[in-house]
């Protein structure tokens, strides 16, 4: 690990000032991803500004929705009774991600800012435009089974690893920053284009202070497929937020995870669902629309049928046409294939 200076910030202003004036400085909160990448010689900050002690740990009612402080731990947010009930997709995404230890450590603002799990990014011996701009992309001709179906570029085919980010995208969450500005969730994260080293639209020294969840009176759900039953990143995931108008779907929001450089909202599919009665045929049509533009690589074409099936199932379970595998708002509802020995399956 490269040497760095360390400074604990007592206020957001102090943290921002310290990072803004220091090239190579970064914030650190939970550190679960950042410190790992520092050990891997992928990140080498000159200065770490510790924002973990900042008073950004409140969960409060806000404009009919909820404001979650940036420093709230993943655990505290996931089990917050109001959040677990009203924004089940978010709790499910959090609890189906990482481990208890990491959820205790990780912050709500840090989670969506974690870097890709592309193995070439994490190996300094490999070419990677995200890690070393201009060095090329070893994944394009390499083993790319966990890589993107949508929005990839010639410079980068990585996917975004955060489960939480997918749920937040479906819930139209917004982040508040020290800009000060408000950034809607899908726009916080970028597509790779020819600048894959930039994951977000945040400026150097811009700190997220809160995540706002807008008012939501429908049902939401997160579903995830992974290579083992627990404590693994998603191969494909899907977050759904449905608002009903009597028996019909008034508005549907669907975001896919594990398929792009950012959570992938599927507008055409959402348009198909709006105003319709929920049926399996409708959901099939929506899933087909969602994946119509998928561009598979050499090793990841399996994600297309897997993603379509997952999206249909997520819609069936959210709309109530099919029971969830576990209680809403828990990891057991979110995990395809059961979690480490499943709960009694209702089916």
């Amino acid at each position: 690990m490269h040497p760095f200076q360390y400074q604990r910030a007592d206020s957001a202003d102090q943290a921002v000032a310290a990072v803004a004036k220091t090239p190579g400085a970064t914030f650190i909160a939970g550190g679960t991803s950042h410190l790992d990448l520092m050990k891997e010689d992928v990140h080498h900050p000159s200065l770490l500004v510790d924002v973990s002690a900042l008073p950004l740990k409140q969960i409060t009612a806000f404009e009919g929705g909820v404001r979650i402080g940036a420093g709230v731990s993943n655990t505290a947010a996931a089990y917050h009774p109001d959040l677990q009930q009203r924004y089940a997709a978010m709790s499910e995404a959090l609890l189906a991600g990482a481990s208890v230890q990491i959820r205790n450590m990780a912050s709500m603002a840090g989670n969506p800012l974690q870097r890709t799990r592309c193995p070439y990014f994490r190996d300094p011996a490999q070419a990677c435009n995200k890690r070393t701009p201009g060095s090329g992309c070893a994944a394009i001709g390499g083993y790319n089974h966990v890589h993107a179906l949508f929005g990839a570029s010639k410079a980068c085919i990585a996917t975004h690893p955060s489960d939480l980010a997918v749920a937040l995208a479906a819930l139209d969450a917004r982040v508040q920053t020290t800009g000060p500005r408000t950034i809607a969730f899908p726009e916080l994260l970028r597509l790779p284009g020819d600048t894959p080293h930039l994951d977000t639209v945040l400026e150097h020294g811009e700190l997220i202070t809160a995540i706002d969840l807008p008012a939501f009176a429908g049902r939401s759900h997160y579903l995830k497929v992974r290579e083992r039953a627990s404590y693994a990143y998603a191969l494909v995931s899907c977050a759904v937020a449905l608002e009903m108008d009597g028996p019909k779907i008034r508005r549907a929001r669907v975001a896919l995870g594990g398929v792009a450089h950012k959570p992938w909202r599927v507008g055409p599919a959402e348009a198909l669902l709006a105003g319709q009665l929920p049926t399996e045929q409708l959901f099939q049509a929506a899933a087909n629309a969602a994946f119509a533009d998928a561009k598979p690589l050499e090793h990841n074409a399996y994600k297309i049928p897997m993603g379509r099936n997952l999206m249909v199932r997520a819609l069936l379970e959210t709309s109530g046409l099919q029971p969830m595998q576990g209680p809403a708002g828990t990891a057991f509802a979110a995990s395809v294939g059961g979690v480490a020995g499943r709960l009694a399956t209702p089916r």
Binding site: G31, Y79, Q101, G341
Partner: protein, 346 residues
């Protein structure tokens, strides 16, 4: 009394401090009539740290008219770099040191902490005691009438507190046994280290660490608390699990410097004397390990689980999910679950 121009490499108590230019541009002699404190520290000692600036702000107030190195308006204060010419003038080049000068500019108290050395609380007390007696002065000038003014005493006390914050300073334990045992310190401090105060199993440890040191390595390498295991060192196996403020956390992905102010519990802190924690006893009873390498992490995760109201007690499925961050290459999972269930039901 030595004269200022003779500024010796070893400025002693009772000597007149040499005149010099201070970081704020003033000359030391301009501060005659007021006590002055001079702090020498390496550059990397970050004075903006809140508890440090608070102490120096209080020093500033005690000094009254602002004869201080704290600019309370901007909260910036000026440490004297121990590698500068000034430090050489005071004979403390490369060292951490505090000088307390009385109203006449005479050194009343001086403490130097050499690299890698500890400053014990007793030394600080002795230094404060020394302040109570009249200084050994030449030239027939008696200082302060043989006693200390309240202000000088308060200042000295604060100075002692400040000194304890200097890098490389002492270990003070909150328990008697830790006081009697030499505190295991890491390698000698260098210019790249910073003071880190950790509260582990109820004891306070003052360390001098490179900021890169993970809590796991501080526990194992600096404090020789080797119960906590290094498995993958990347947050994938759970062998390094400890409790931070009662919650399970990975010590390999936690910087030691960021663990300050938290109650850290390791496997060594679970038992009471020879009496095992019920979870330790249950692991033994159920043969919940083979090689044992993952066991401390498993037990720390399991004991945190006991306090976790979000996990239904006794549910094997929920235990499996909650324990998924702890891998066991021997595959002792069924016995681990049995052990946890037994303790949950007890």
């Amino acid at each position: 009394m030595r004269m200022p121009h003779e500024s010796a490499p070893n400025l002693q108590t009772g000597d007149l401090a040499p005149n010099c230019v201070l970081p704020d541009g003033s000359r030391l002699f301009e501060w005659r009539g007021r006590p002055v404190i001079l702090a020498f520290a390496p550059e990397e000692w970050d004075p903006t740290r809140a508890h440090q600036s608070e102490i120096f702000a209080r020093l500033s107030r005690e000094f009254g008219s602002g004869a201080t190195f704290v600019d309370t308006a901007t909260d910036e204060w000026h440490a004297l770099n121990c590698r500068g010419a000034l430090a050489a003038q005071f004979g403390v080049a490369g060292q951490r040191a505090l000088f307390l000068l009385d109203e006449r500019g005479v050194v009343r108290w001086k403490t130097v902490v050499a690299p890698g050395q500890d400053l014990r609380a007793g030394q600080v007390l002795a230094a404060l005691e020394a302040l109570h007696s009249p200084p050994a002065t030449a030239g027939g000038v008696s200082a302060l009438g043989g006693g200390l003014s309240r202000r000088t005493f308060v200042t000295a006390t604060l100075a002692a507190a400040a000194l304890l914050l200097l890098p490389g300073c002492s270990t003070e334990s909150t328990t008697k046994e830790a006081n009697s045992a030499a505190d295991p310190m890491g390698p000698a401090s260098s210019a790249d280290t910073i003071p880190v105060v950790l509260t582990i199993n109820g004891k306070t440890h003052r360390l001098q660490l490179d900021p890169r040191v993970a809590l796991l390595d501080a526990l194992r390498e600096n404090l020789h608390l080797t119960g906590t295991k290094k498995g993958c060192d990347h947050g994938q196996c759970g062998a390094c699990t400890v409790h931070l403020d009662g919650q399970s956390a990975l010590s390999c992905l936690t910087l030691a410097v960021m663990s300050q102010g938290k109650e850290i519990t390791t496997i060594e802190g679970l038992s009471t004397g020879e009496t095992l924690h019920p979870m330790q006893a249950a692991f033994l009873k159920h043969d919940a390990f083979q090689c044992g390498y993952c066991t401390p992490g498993q037990i720390m995760a399991a004991t945190a689980l006991l306090q976790d109201k979000n996990v239904r007690a006794g549910s094997a499925v929920e235990i499996r999910e909650a324990m998924s961050g702890n891998l066991c290459r021997c595959g002792a999972y069924p016995n681990i679950i049995a052990a946890i269930q037994e303790v949950q039901r007890a």
